[in-house]
Symmetry: C2
Subunit: 253 residues, 2 copies
């Protein structure tokens, strides 16, 4: 009768079947936060499998944050952490695609420049170092949504493809034109109001609220190799975060 839960002859691994079984119990509320799971020995005996296989399944549940273990006591259903919130930035670009809109990047300007004092300081490089500078506007169905300005050191002197300038990924760009590999990235998200120039490019009125994001790319030696500033229209963009175990069910609310 337990064969309905774990089929040892299935191509699906036993540990995965077991993981899904408990996941379902928890998501459905049959196992409530604080409830104890059966002991590993009990589970192994009930399904006639090895304790190591049981532990593999429980390990997956722990990784998913759905249970926690306490040495000498047992394994318990965790409380969903509704307060630790993460906003996934992919939203900014994915949102366009999800709505079935066509994303398009327009190159406004692209130049090789020699770093002046301000840029040299910002990039942590020497003055007059050759840099690649460019600006793009990202549109969806013809409407401007974001305005990005980017700088990266240009030490490799490899050819610049227009396609890569239209790619919003600053780290890919740095990988192509810096002589070191991008290793870390820092982004700061702020609110601001559009400057005259930004308002003109985005086709909004001056003082419209916008998201302002500044990104810095570092190599393995923690040297800055790229810097970018992005302005997102506040009337078109938003970030959404879902937490908990029933997330799929509320996404369309």
């Amino acid at each position: 009768m337990q064969g309905e839960i774990v089929d040892k002859n299935s191509v699906i691994p036993i540990y995965y079947q077991l993981f899904k079984y408990f996941e379902k119990q928890i998501r459905s509320g049959q196992l409530q936060p604080g409830d104890a799971l059966p002991t590993e020995m009990e589970i192994a005996a009930r399904f006639d499998i090895s304790r190591m296989t049981v532990r593999h399944a429980i390990g997956e549940l722990v990784s998913a944050g759905m249970v926690y273990t306490q040495k000498g006591k047992g394994t318990f259903v965790a409380r969903p952490r509704l307060d630790s919130v993460v906003f996934n930035l992919n939203n900014f670009y994915d949102e366009i695609r999800q709505k079935g809109m066509k994303r398009h990047s327009e190159l406004l300007e692209a130049r090789i420049i020699k770093a002046d004092e301000k840029l040299a300081k910002r990039l942590g490089i020497d003055i007059n170092t050759r840099c690649l500078y460019f600006r793009i506007v990202i549109t969806a169905d013809g409407e401007p949504l974001a305005y990005e300005t980017k700088y990266t050191v240009y030490t490799k002197r490899s050819p610049i493809l227009e396609s890569e300038l239209k790619d919003p990924s600053l780290s890919n760009l740095a990988a192509s034109h810096s002589d070191t590999i991008p290793s870390s990235s820092k982004r700061v998200l702020m609110v601001s109001t559009a400057t005259e120039e930004e308002a003109a490019v985005l086709g909004v009125s001056h003082d419209t609220p916008v998201f302002l994001m500044v990104q810095t790319i570092y190599n393995a030696e923690n040297k800055i190799i790229a810097w970018g500033k992005s302005i997102f229209r506040g009337d078109r963009y938003k970030l959404t975060s879902y937490e908990g175990w029933n997330v799929e069910n509320i996404k369309n609310n």
Copy 2:
């Protein structure tokens, strides 16, 4: 001589020592993205440990996103994903603490109300359902930083503690006063400008750019049990995201 790397007599588990060993190799760049790790059998033989212990260590590296495995081929160092960005909202409140400032919550208003049509629709409940409504201002060193308005259904009629009204966690509040348990949470982060009322409360001028966050708490049946709106001063708050493997080294830049 390998004993310097893995000490089988240490109280630290072997798999963890091995995990740290490879983590160090990767962070230091001695193992570059794309490089293959030794095979599991090789590692087991070199350190004279069981293959299962090696697999445990590699499993940790996989969980950390530092390596990936390919059946029949081997295990390889992953490329850090610098494009998938997450902003951790805890920033909003942690930032205050991190700066050594004292957070304080001031209760502006707290009432039990009967839901009017607008609120009933927003909370997905019947008109005239009893709800707890309140507003707070969060200050740091006396300066207002955030303004929050919250509603939750009030079915348990349990006493309301002023301390819990000052806790910024909407899910904790819903847990106390709703007759069902919070299960999922949805948050939407937008930019806006302060309304007259918000500007007055926060002590900023009208039309100052602000973060606007709306949170909805659901129970296991996907019924809304709480709703809240938070206004964060744009001139005081920012969200920061770090990606990559050298993150600790760039946090102070």
